[in-house]
């Protein structure tokens, strides 16, 4: 699937590297000289108190925000400014903290829309819903049906997503991201606002996506239990700075992290 000229990145090697990135909004430094990397195949958690800059970090990675300083290297390529749709075409998918679905469209259409970049047939054939336009629609529908099965949302296939409860909307949004067959999946608090059962379902999906499809995942999550269970490595942000970066067991015992979460005042 990958074009041949693309540098190969093997299992366990760095898929994405963030180097000395800084981002400011006016006077507010949302991200302050942060570096870390995400290895292919891992689940990388990004945690930190409210306003730490986690969402901003994802926004930098997929091209919504352009950092004032620093650089991002994805699949061995260092990039300067990049548009979100370019990030998408390079294999970065994303879900949002506050669900960002297409509310007027059905579950099926929302997830089908995730296949946009996989569909190439010419406009001309779409006029008649014929030839390549038709067969492409069918092939991708089949792929989407697998995702619908996988996420256990068959019963809401034809429901406009605006009418779905929050927990299901989050699931559909994950489905749309999966439909892109991303190499790097950015999940911004996928379990926020969910009850225990929904959280368990979502955790299961995240693990399955990582293990069955081999998708690399960056996960923002506030629930420590979830983070410790799911992630391979954790980076901790506080006030736009990186204060820890290690495996969950060590991060958990780190004094700076404990202080940040307990709200110990800064000097």
């Amino acid at each position: 699937m990958k074009p041949p000229d693309e540098p190969m990145v093997g299992q366990g090697e760095s898929l994405l590297a963030v180097d000395n990135v800084s981002l400011a909004f006016g006077g507010v430094k949302a991200i302050n000289d942060i570096s870390f990397d995400i290895r292919r195949g891992e689940i990388r958690a990004i945690i930190g108190p409210n306003g730490a800059g986690k969402t901003s970090m994802l926004n930098v990675i997929n091209g919504f925000y352009h950092p004032q300083e620093g650089q991002i290297t994805f699949k061995g390529r260092t990039r300067s400014k990049m548009k979100p749709y370019e990030a998408a075409s390079q294999g970065i998918a994303r879900t949002f903290q506050n669900v960002a679905l297409f509310r007027g469209m059905t579950t099926l259409d929302n997830i089908m829309s995730g296949r946009t970049l996989k569909m190439r047939s010419h406009f001309f054939f779409h006029l008649f819903h014929a030839g390549p336009a038709r067969s492409e629609e069918l092939e991708n529908r089949q792929f989407v049906e697998h995702i619908i099965d996988f996420l256990e949302i068959e019963h809401i296939r034809k429901t406009p997503v605006g009418r779905l409860p929050y927990g299901l909307q989050k699931r559909v949004e994950l489905g749309r991201a999966l439909a892109m067959e991303p190499e790097l999946l950015l999940l911004d608090e996928p379990m926020a606002g969910m009850n225990l059962e929904e959280k368990e379902d979502m955790s299961r999906f995240v693990i399955d996506v990582n293990q069955q499809f081999g998708t690399t995942i960056a996960l923002i999550e506030h629930d420590m239990g979830v983070v410790m269970d799911l992630s391979d490595r954790v980076v901790v942000l506080d006030y736009g700075k990186k204060i820890a970066d290690d495996v969950p067991d060590i991060v958990q015992k780190d004094q700076d992290v404990i202080d940040a979460y307990l709200g110990v005042p800064h000097d």
Binding site: N62, Y85, L101, F102, D109, T116, L117, H126, H129, R176
Partner: protein, 358 residues
């Protein structure tokens, strides 16, 4: 249980993705087409063709056009009148410059020219949204009308400033000009409208439709799945303007035959078509027809009722009619803001359960 999905199992995704997945809908469509193409022509006289059927068809086409832009892609436009004028003037210029050119080709080219103009005026949509975009398209409306009035080249420098459609034939039968039979006018418009409604339906149920709706519902997330906003919006402007231009071309050539631009394509037309879109239902091809039918038929029924039923003077009736239409539109927007298309859907859901609503 006259209307149901149950028992009508789809065994493949192809069947589920068909244009009318439910069997009853397919039958309904087939019957409708037979009636429209075979039965109606027997009853068509001058009045029916010129006052009701052709206007309905021409507006349906314009409404589908605006619906693609506004209903599907979420970009408001108040320039519909202006774009219809582009279609009309393109037809006039093409057919007078190249009298031998096949009339269908002239119509299609008029559509493409309008599509080009639409893309040009759609460029601001890349930077501005909603109300501000509406104002920008309003500027397009006034600019285009001014242009066609001002520049003599567009009306071949004739003394009246009007444009008049010469007679054009297809297969030896006149489709435009004074001597055209009402049945031919009706069937000609019907064929074009049926064909392009089908094309529109094909577009909106595939990748392009999803791209437009994605931009409409959440443009940030749309970019994230790989939609290029530039391409999505401009393609909606192009397709939409093609339809509106084609409607304008038919409006001028088949329906009116002669046009004075400031009257025929004023801002009122833009609003009328927009009302049709809203009343019919944003984001629905079927709704486009219902909205056009409602706003074409309602004034006629009201007028007949007031002049003949109540014996009002024509002038008084006209004023009362405008007033009543306004009230009706407002009433409708409050009671069912999703238009006739939604009412139709609710009716279908009810029918599915009937006669056992539990």
């Amino acid at each position: 249980m006259f209307y149901r999905e149950v028992g009508d199992f789809k065994t493949s995704y192809a069947a589920d993705q068909a244009i009318f997945p439910i069997r009853q809908d397919r039958w309904f469509m087939a019957i409708l087409l037979v009636v429209a193409f075979v039965v109606v022509p027997f009853g068509v006289n001058d009045y029916w063709a010129n006052a009701i059927l052709v206007p309905f068809l021409v507006y349906s086409l314009a409404v589908i056009g605006l619906n693609i832009l506004t209903g599907y892609c979420g970009q408001v436009s108040l320039g519909t009148g202006g774009f219809m004028a582009v279609g009309a003037y393109a037809t006039y210029k093409l057919t007078t410059a190249f009298p031998e050119l096949n009339f269908v080709v002239v119509l299609l080219m008029s559509g493409f020219i309008t599509a080009g103009v639409g893309v040009l005026f759609g460029l601001p949509s890349l930077r501005i949204k909603g109300f501000y975009l509406a104002v920008a398209t309003l500027a397009a409306q006034f600019f285009l009308i001014w242009l066609f009035n001002k520049v003599g080249w567009f009306y071949n420098y004739n003394a009246t400033g009007q444009i008049t459609m010469p007679t054009r034939e297809l297969f030896g039968i006149a489709v435009t000009g004074a001597g055209t039979s009402p049945v031919v006018k009706y069937l000609f418009c019907l064929t074009i409208v049926a064909l392009f409604a089908w094309v529109a339906k094909n577009l909106v149920r595939g990748r392009f439709g999803r791209t437009w709706m994605a931009i409409r519902d959440m443009d940030i997330a749309a970019e994230l799945i790989g939609v290029r906003p530039l391409f999505a919006k401009l393609s909606a402007f192009a397709v939409s303007s093609f339809y509106v231009g084609l409607a304008g071309a038919l409006h001028f050539s088949v329906w009116f035959g002669a046009i004075e631009v400031t009257e025929a394509y004023s801002i009122n037309v833009s609003f009328l078509v927009l009302f049709m879109v809203i009343i019919g239902g944003l984001g629905s091809i079927l709704g486009s027809f219902l909205g056009a039918a409602f706003l074409v038929l309602m004034p006629i029924l009201l007028k007949n009722f007031m002049t003949e039923g109540l014996g009002m003077l024509a002038v008084t009736a006209k004023h009362t009619e405008i007033l009543l239409m306004g009230v009706l539109i407002i009433f409708f927007l409050i009671v069912e803001p999703h238009g006739f298309a939604r009412l139709w859907q609710i009716a279908k859901e009810k029918l599915r359960l009937w006669p056992f609503p539990y």
